[in-house]
Symmetry: C2
Subunit: 218 residues, 2 copies
């Protein structure tokens, strides 16, 4: 099948690469996936993302777009097939961008901080993360997804939280996202992981668990 | 004159608040400016930006939008008056967003790092910043502004680099952005600071110098 000049350079276990895959699957765009590693970095990574030398890299007719959220917006603006990933109105767009940025700039660093702490400090770091999750959870406000009835930018951005984080906390024996602390968010995880597009776009829990277990042991 | 329900809660000396002012002036939107401080924080800051408790906060018909770049895109999408701040085509939009993010996430932290270093370490920190500036400079590629013939998202994002940084380096006696090291970027600074919209939107060098000198002495 033709790839319409659409190529994704990504890493299998990367939630950032998977964001792009979700967007492409939502839009029904056929694409070629090129599995890359960050160590060593291929000539293509250095050529197409000389500034950050990171993945994912999206190529459309040979032109590169990088930074996962920039790519997702590019895909939404380029293909009108499938549901819109961002709302049509400027206020809805602004809110989606705000919460996507909140996940990347505020919640993710706070989660990374948990692993750096121990004992009492770790308990405090977990509490801080749960408080941030509650702010995010409030945005669901009775909706099925952050995007409403369909998966939107914030849902895509949150893919790490739905799967990777859950596996990490199981491996590390930590209680961060639990039914008791974050019931609304846990319901979202269920809806999200069971939606057909996400099932097609993310690795299974078993496969990813095996990969992350190897990472924790390394 | 009516304010069309447009209010900006900002700080006079903040480059982030000024980004929003540039966007509003480019679009010819009349607005009410409410001078705020971060210490103490007003009830409005806590009400409208409970997540970050930061400025600027943009209110349109009472609805808040926060994060300066999110606000600038909101303004561009809401008002078609005046020049477009982002290009019309998805690839142009993606590039503008990439370089705006580069300034905020890569260049600004590297600049902040200079002040934390001393001696040989500071020389190295400055060299690193100059290398990042060269990547940005390359994007001008013969154009008057990053946005082409008119001021765009990247130019707006770079307002700190055009004025605040120049004053800081003078006060601190450092050579970061110089004609010799970054001739193309210095030419952009000239064009930018002398454009009519920027003259109306930024404080004068004298006024800002006095404010930043007080900051350095504190």
């Amino acid at each position: 099948m033709a790839h319409q000049g659409v190529k994704l350079l990504g890493a299998w276990a990367s939630p950032y690469s998977r964001r792009v895959e979700i967007a492409l699957k939502l839009k029904g765009i056929d694409y070629e996936f090129v599995a890359e590693t960050l160590s060593p970095k291929s000539a293509d990574i250095l050529k197409y993302n000389p500034v950050h030398k990171k993945l994912p890299i999206f190529l459309h007719n040979g032109k590169p777009v990088v930074e996962s959220l920039v790519i997702v917006e590019y895909i939404d603006e380029t293909w009108s097939s499938g549901p819109s990933i961002l709302p049509a109105d400027p206020l809805g767009k602004a809110n989606a961008r705000f919460w996507a940025k909140f996940i990347d700039d505020k919640l993710m660093p706070a989660i990374m901080n948990i692993r750096r702490c121990q004992g009492e400090e770790q308990v405090k770091a977990i509490d801080e993360v749960v408080e941030l999750f509650k702010l995010l959870e409030n945005q669901l406000n009775g909706k099925k997804f952050f995007g409403g009835d369909t998966i939107g930018l914030v849902d895509i951005t949150a893919n790490f939280l739905a799967l990777w984080l859950i596996i990490h906390q199981e491996i590390m024996g930590l209680q961060i996202v639990t039914e008791e602390k974050l019931p609304v968010f846990c319901k979202w995880i269920d809806e999200y992981l069971n939606s057909s597009v996400i099932k097609q776009s993310l690795p299974s829990k078993e496969e990813l668990s095996a990969a992350l277990l190897a990472y924790h042991k390394s």
